[in-house]
């Protein structure tokens, strides 16, 4: 049987690929590969002209297969599949060679990289020749949504969906809604009340006919797939009785938020030993109670705010927690207005004031006579109890960067700007909803720039600080974005899912039952009558475990068949 007519399209990605890989050489080599009738190198394959070029060549050369050598398929496979589809080619007859993320970006030896790119293209060419046209499955989209977490992000998403008339199940582990925002007094930079922000949302959520709120509750299991999830929720009632609930949802938004860094880990700051060293959240509480005082009940004369506690450090978290700097400035304002005679010092590393209105706010803080002391990243201030002779409770020693001197700073009340970190149950959540964590433990989005709301699991979205430290506006924006994405899907009514499930050839199945225990989704059923096993395609997630296990080669993994992978192996090895 002759090899199908194949076109190879090599993307230069500007210079991202071309600067290391000799794309023209790869195109030339491709022309010699089995079945290849057209091979082109072009600046941006994902651009409209690039996609049109592919469509045009499909028409001109009667291409039956298309190979695009460009970025990771995880990036643009849908793009090029669509391009092929517009030209009347089944989208599954397209294969990508990842010569950017896994070649040009990781190698500098141009010869070796070009040779590798050729191998990758050959593998794709030989693989795609064995592809079969597949039809995507059209399944119903359940219009209900599960929102996990009742913080500002969760509340916002829930309202967004419910206001559009869609049913929302809102699950909150705590007895009350509001999350971390409920622990905050005023918000930076406009100093308006967090409580006001929340109260109206909370009341609307609780009263909303399309929001089913479950507090003291947790998700215990999530089965199914996009558009058709089944969620099991345990509701803990007062008095210890538990209620198990099963709900059908089409989408899930994870808004589980963050927890604050445990300041006692930064031993040099004396938290937990010195009573007047407190965390930002403890100070917020003081503010909400309306009285700023030391443990001894005295009004502090010297108030000091220490930044980056747990953040931007080798020792704890490398990342910036994003909200602390502006919150610290907010404290300066609040202290000054409450205790005009007090001295406020701000011990920081860098002042991050990138948000809207933040730079002005920074300037205004300087005006309220806050003493700014800068210390070096990687170093840290040291807090100790003052001597009786001193007129203050504590002393902070800082190697001040701008002056170059070591400064001893008096303090009666020290506020530690504790950073954000993933919640202790974050890992459990990833297992439940089948998403993953990055190296710091934050949930991974499907693409950091182009798709920060979706995850690797279709139908599961993330919003708020569970993805990475965020302030309120960003969390709200992401929550609305997620809701918007979901409403879009719901409005279509049906959705298309990949046709890549496994299939048993019953004429070959011997009923040995090797595969029965293999499937984590219990998608394999043994029919005692016929003594054959079969795959329930709706439950199959196409991992291929049963395919590798089947001793009779009776199970086929669509789009990942043995033949296709063997061809790929032969291909990469030239």
């Amino acid at each position: 049987m002759p090899e199908p007519r194949t076109g190879v399209f090599i993307c230069n990605c500007g210079t991202n690929i071309a600067k290391v890989v000799d794309c023209d050489a790869v195109a030339e080599a491709a022309m010699a590969m089995p079945g290849v009738v057209a091979a082109r190198s072009y600046k941006y394959m994902c651009s409209n002209p690039g996609q049109e070029m592919i469509a045009q060549d499909i028409a001109d050369h009667g291409l039956e297969r298309v190979v695009v050598a460009a970025c990771s398929p995880r990036m643009h496979e849908p793009t090029f599949r669509r391009a092929a589809e517009t030209a009347g080619l089944n989208p599954y007859l397209v294969e990508m060679a990842n010569i950017r993320e896994q070649c040009s970006w990781v190698h500098d030896d141009s010869t070796a990289a070009t040779e590798k790119a050729e191998d990758m293209v050959r593998a794709a060419v030989m693989r795609v020749a064995r592809h079969e046209p597949l039809e995507r499955l059209s399944v119903d989209m359940c219009p209900n949504t599960l929102v996990i977490g009742g913080g500002i992000a969760g509340l916002t998403a829930a309202l967004e969906l419910a206001d559009a008339g869609k049913l929302v199940y809102l699950v909150e582990r705590q007895p009350g809604l509001g999350g971390n925002v409920a622990r905050v007094d005023l918000t930076a930079p406009y100093l308006d009340s967090a409580r006001d922000m929340l109260t109206d949302r909370l009341t609307r959520v609780v009263e909303h006919r399309d929001i089913d709120v479950m507090v003291s509750s947790e998700l215990t299991r999530l089965d199914g797939f996009v558009g058709n999830f089944k969620a099991a929720i345990t509701v803990h009632h007062d008095g210890g009785s538990d209620e198990e609930r099963q709900v059908d949802v089409g989408s899930v938004i994870v808004c589980t938020g963050y927890r604050e860094f445990d300041a006692s880990r930064a031993t040099h700051l004396g938290y937990g030993k010195l009573p007047n060293v407190i965390t930002s959240f403890e100070f917020e509480r003081m503010l909400r109670l309306g009285r700023i005082e030391t443990k001894e009940g005295r009004l502090p004369q010297y108030v000091s705010v220490i930044h980056c506690v747990g953040s931007r450090s080798e020792e704890f978290h490398g990342y910036c927690s994003r909200v602390c700097c502006m919150t610290a400035l907010k404290y300066a304002h609040e202290v000054k207005s409450a205790l005009p005679g007090s001295y406020v010092s701000d011990v920081y590393v860098d002042m991050h004031a990138f948000g809207k209105g933040c730079e002005d706010f920074y300037r205004r803080s300087a005006e309220v006579k806050t003493l700014f002391l800068m210390y070096g990243k990687g170093e840290h201030p040291v807090v100790r109890k003052a001597d009786p002779s001193d007129d203050c409770g504590m002393l902070i020693t800082v190697d001040e960067l701008l002056s170059g001197e070591t400064i001893e700073l008096p303090a009666d009340l020290i506020i530690l700007m504790v950073g954000m970190e993933p919640r202790e149950d974050a890992e459990a959540v990833t297992r439940l909803v089948n998403i993953s964590q990055d190296k710091d433990g934050w949930f991974i989005e499907s693409h950091p720039k182009l798709d920060p709301v979706a995850t690797t699991t279709d139908g599961v979205y993330i919003a708020g600080a569970c993805q990475s430290p965020k302030d309120i506006p960003d969390s709200v924006a992401q929550a609305r974005a997620a809701a918007g994405r979901i409403l879009g899907k719901i409005s279509k009514g049906k959705l298309e899912i990949d046709a890549m499930f496994a299939e048993v050839d019953e004429d070959r199945c011997s009923g040995c039952r090797m595969c029965n225990e293999i499937c984590p989704y219990t998608a394999i059923e043994f029919d005692a009558e016929t003594r054959r096993s079969q795959v329930i395609s709706a439950l199959c997630k196409a991992c291929g475990a049963c395919v590798a296990t089947c001793p009779s080669a009776a199970i086929k993994a669509k789009h990942f068949t043995d033949e296709q992978i063997f061809a790929e192996i032969a291909g990469v090895l030239g």
Binding site: D507, R508, C509, S510, G511, C512, R513, M514, N516, E517, I518, R531, A545, A548, T549, C550, P551, S552, A553, A554, D562, F566
Partner: protein
């Protein structure tokens, strides 16, 4: 020889004779074959003249049945001759089909074989250093014996084969079915395996099967074997799941696990690797150390998994130097 009868030759390469016995086991049927055909060559039972075969026109034979593996140049020479003279060439039995048990020699080397047989064994003449030589001078003339290949090959490694009859030996009822098919000219697509099923042995095995989770592998002598339950589920390594059925499941029904003589199913390129994949997948542990302990119960896995198919496996032989 002018005859409207079917012209048949049976030949053994590197063989044990079991395949010929399997043909004899068709009993009275062999007489029908004799009636319907001229058996032009069958070394175990018929005085055929090799010269006759050489003298034949190409394609003069209707059917040549070759059993045994290809171990030396003589085997290869005859295989090529029969291929030329016969319209159909059938690889008969595990050795011709897959390499068979003699193919286990591919796990060792020619030198090791010679030294074991002629230099190091307890009953050897004291101090004997003699090795058989391809050529040795006697009476001023030279006696020759074929030197054998470095490893064992299956028949289609040296000539194109039309059909494969699996089994060590092929079950006699299957042999009869195949001969009848040939006589009746009723044959499937060239290259097919005939005289066997398209499903694995488990399809025929009467033992009761359920979900598989294996915590322990046992060797057959270590436990009393339940006569009714799946051997694998009892922890007895069995090649049934990766082996074509057609033998009548004789071994498992006698309490002995299948060792795979009927070979892999269509679509399986390496019988041993498939067996490995299947049985390890159902090991009941997620702890690496425990998994190691469990597979300690599977010594010499290569020798079991490739019991009949080493020369037809992807690696074909041990590549150890």
């Amino acid at each position: 020889m002018a005859s409207d009868k079917l012209q048949i030759a049976l030949y053994w390469g590197s063989a044990c004779g079991g395949c010929d016995v399997a043909v004899l086991d068709t009993d009275a049927f062999i007489l029908d074959v004799a009636a319907a055909a001229d058996i032009r060559l069958w070394p175990i039972a018929v005085d055929g003249k090799y010269a006759d075969i050489e003298a034949m026109e190409d394609g003069e034979l209707d059917l040549a049945i070759y059993n045994g593996a290809v171990r030396n140049s003589e085997n290869e020479r005859i295989a090529k001759l029969l291929r030329a003279k016969s319209k159909l060439l059938v690889a008969f039995g595990s050795c011709a089909h897959l390499g068979g048990i003699p193919g286990l020699a591919n796990l060792t080397s020619r030198d090791e074989i010679l030294s074991t047989a002629y230099l190091h064994n307890p009953s050897l003449e004291k101090g004997s250093k003699t090795l058989p030589l391809p050529e040795s001078g006697v009476n001023g003339t030279t006696l020759t014996i074929p030197s054998f290949y470095k490893r064992v090959y299956k028949l289609d490694d040296v000539v194109p084969v039309d059909y494969y009859v699996p089994g060590c030996p092929p079950a006699f009822d299957q042999v009869q079915a195949v001969l009848e098919a040939v006589v009746g000219g009723d044959l499937p697509a060239v290259g097919s395996v005939v005289g066997a099923s398209d499903r694995a042995l488990c399809d025929d095995c009467a033992r009761v099967k359920s979900e598989k989770r294996i915590k322990h592998f046992y060797r057959p002598w270590q436990i009393m074997i339940d006569p009714d339950a799946c051997l694998l589920e009892q922890g007895i390594l069995c090649a049934g799941p990766v082996t074509r059925s057609g033998c009548g499941s004789r071994c498992p029904s006698s309490g002995i696990p299948c060792r795979g003589c009927y070979g892999p199913l269509d679509g399986v390129v390496d019988q041993g690797a498939k067996l490995l994949s299947a049985v390890t997948s159902v090991i009941d542990s997620t702890d690496p150390e425990e998994i190691d302990r469990i597979i300690d119960g599977l010594p010499d896995f290569a020798g079991f998994a490739y019991r009949f198919s080493m020369p037809s496996s992807l690696l074909q032989r041990s590549v150890g130097q």
